[in-house]
Symmetry: C2
Subunit: 107 residues, 2 copies
DNA sequence: GAATGCAATCGTTAATCGACGATAGGCTAT
DNA sequence: ATAGCCTATCGTCGATTAACGATTGCATTC
């Protein structure tokens, strides 16, 4: 029942292997950075990375925000490809996260 | 006259050596990420990193934006500590950039 | 089938952002 | 001094964001 290995199933849509430079990469880095460009979303990512939270209600408990607001932040993170969700809850999307790190690293 | 070594003089205000975790670090990462969370600002950073541009007018030439808009983007980057300016023009602030990379790396 | 609990979505509001033109400040060269 | 450039700032406008409460949708449990 431990969701450790199965929390987030095989990538249905792995972050496209586009170049690390050029207008497209700039656009992508812009989107990824914008997604984490809010303290609440940074906190959410950290909670997920420390596995201190998995489901939305746990995150709500940790933040001074309404449930609908947290849900919206999760939506933004998911849409950006930094988080993924399954029936077991939320977890980091290491593809998106890795892509972000790679894009930033070469600046 | 080459501005390579003197482009950006000694740090007047080196990015404070705060922790990489905790609410303060989250806040800081949020601010840094927000600053690069726009395609135009990403492009500016890349131009500066490749030394393809140094002064505002050169950047304006490279982007489909008005001078005032570019100036504003530069202000945002400078305020975030990702860029610094001197009489020689703009250049990357490696302190801020390094801090950003460090903060992202541990997520 | 009804009730409960959790999460997503809707609708609204205030605040912030992005972009621009116009203007002002500061140099440099005439 | 003035004329010309370059950049920062101001004022404005529309678009986007952040936050909330209310509502809906979906399971699970009674």
């Amino acid at each position: 029942m431990d969701c450790e290995p199965t929390c987030c199933p095989p990538e249905p849509d792995p972050e496209p292997l586009t170049a690390l430079e050029g207008p497209e990469a700039d656009e992508q880095l812009g989107r990824l950075a914008k997604a984490i460009g809010h303290p609440a979303r940074v906190r959410i990512l950290r909670l997920l990375s420390r596995k201190e939270a998995r489901v939305c209600s746990q995150i709500v408990d940790e933040l001074p925000l309404a449930q609908s607001t947290v849900s919206e932040h999760l939506r933004i993170l998911k849409e950006a490809g930094l988080v993924r969700s399954s029936e077991a809850g939320y977890c980091l999307n290491f593809d998106g996260l890795g892509r972000l790190k790679a894009l930033i690293a070469i600046i």
